[in-house]
C-alpha cells in the first residue's frame, strides 16, 4: 500500500497539485462542500418538520438534490486531487480516516432512507414526516457536521 501511495504522490499531477494548485483546489473543495452540506441541511430541516412546513417534502428535495449530487461530484474530484498531493500522509491521518468513515455512514443513512422510508412518502409528503424520516434527517445533519469538522481538522495535522 505504501509503495502505491508513494508512487501516487510522485506522479506529475500530484506534484503539480502540491507545488502550485493546492490553495485553489482547496477553495473549490470548500465551495463544493458548501453546496453539498447546505442543500442537504435545507432538505434535512424540512424532513425534521422545521422549515418549509407548508410545502411538500418532494417539492423541496427534487429542486435541491440534483445540486447536491453535482456538488458532491465536484467535492470528490477536488478531494482526490488534494489527497494524491500528499497521499501517504492522508492515508495514515486519523481525522482523514474518521471523515471517510462518517461519509460512508452518511451514504448508508441516505440509502436506507431512499430504499425504505421514502417508499411511503405519499402518505406524509405534505405533512410532518414520521419518526424514521425525522431520524434520518437528524442523523444526516449530525454526520455532515462531523464530515466538515474532521475535514477541517485534517488541515491542522499537516
Amino acid at each position: 500500500m505504501n509503495e502505491f501511495l508513494e508512487w501516487l504522490q510522485g506522479t506529475s499531477l500530484a506534484m503539480s497539485v502540491s507545488e502550485n494548485w493546492f490553495p485553489l483546489i482547496e477553495s473549490l473543495h470548500v465551495i463544493a462542500i458548501a453546496l453539498v452540506a447546505g442543500t442537504i441541511f435545507i432538505v434535512d430541516t424540512r424532513l425534521l418538520g422545521l422549515t418549509s412546513k407548508r410545502l411538500a417534502f418532494t417539492y423541496v428535495s427534487d429542486r435541491l438534490l440534483p445540486w447536491t449530487w453535482a456538488a458532491f461530484v465536484a467535492s470528490v474530484i477536488t478531494g482526490v486531487l488534494m489527497f494524491i498531493g500528499n497521499a501517504a500522509h492522508y492515508y495514515d491521518n486519523t481525522p482523514f480516516r474518521v471523515k471517510m468513515a462518517l461519509l460512508l455512514l452518511a451514504g448508508l443513512n441516505m440509502l436506507f432512507f431512499q430504499m425504505v422510508t421514502f417508499r411511503g412518502v405519499a402518505a406524509w409528503d405534505s405533512d410532518r414526516p414520521p419518526t424514521p424520516a425525522r431520524a434520518a434527517g437528524l442523523i444526516s445533519i449530525t454526520l455532515w457536521c462531523g464530515v466538515i469538522g474532521f475535514g477541517r481538522w485534517i488541515g491542522f495535522t499537516s
Binding site: P23, E26, S27, A34, G38, F41, I42, R152
Partner: protein, 157 residues
Amino acid sequence: MSMNEVVDWLTATALSQTIQTTSWAIPGIQVVHIVCLAILFSLALSFSLRIAGRGFAVEPLASVAARFVPAMWICLVVLLISGALLIIAEPFRTITNPVFYLKMTLLVVAIAVTVWLAAVARRPVEKPTVVHVAGATLGMLVWAGIIIAGRYIAYVD
C-alpha cells in the same frame, strides 16, 4: 493606533488568550463558520435560481424570498460573530492581511446585492428582468469569491 498596535492589543485581550489556549476553540469556531457559510451559500443559490426562473419557479418570487432571505441574514449574523471571534483569536492572520480586506469588500457587495434583490422580490407581481438575473449571477460569483478569499487568508500574509 497602527495596525500592529491593534494586533498586539487584540492578542493580549482575555478573550483572545482564552480562545488561543483552548485547543479545540479555533477548529470548533471554524466548523460553525463553515456550516453557516454552506447554508447561506445554498440559500443564496436557491434564491438566485428562482430569480432566473429556475429551481423553485412554480412558487411566487415573494414566497421564495420570504422563506430564504431571513434565513440568509441569520446565517450572516452567526458568520459575523464566528468570524469576529476568529479575528480576535488570531488578529495577526487577518488585520494585516490584504486578502482579508478583499474578502470584507466582497462581503459588502454581496450584502448590497442581497438587500437589493430581496427588495425587488417584495414588490407585488414583480417579474425579474435581465438586470435582476445579472445581479443574482454577480451575487453568486461574489459569494464564491468570498469563500475563496477566506481560504486564501491562510496562504497569503
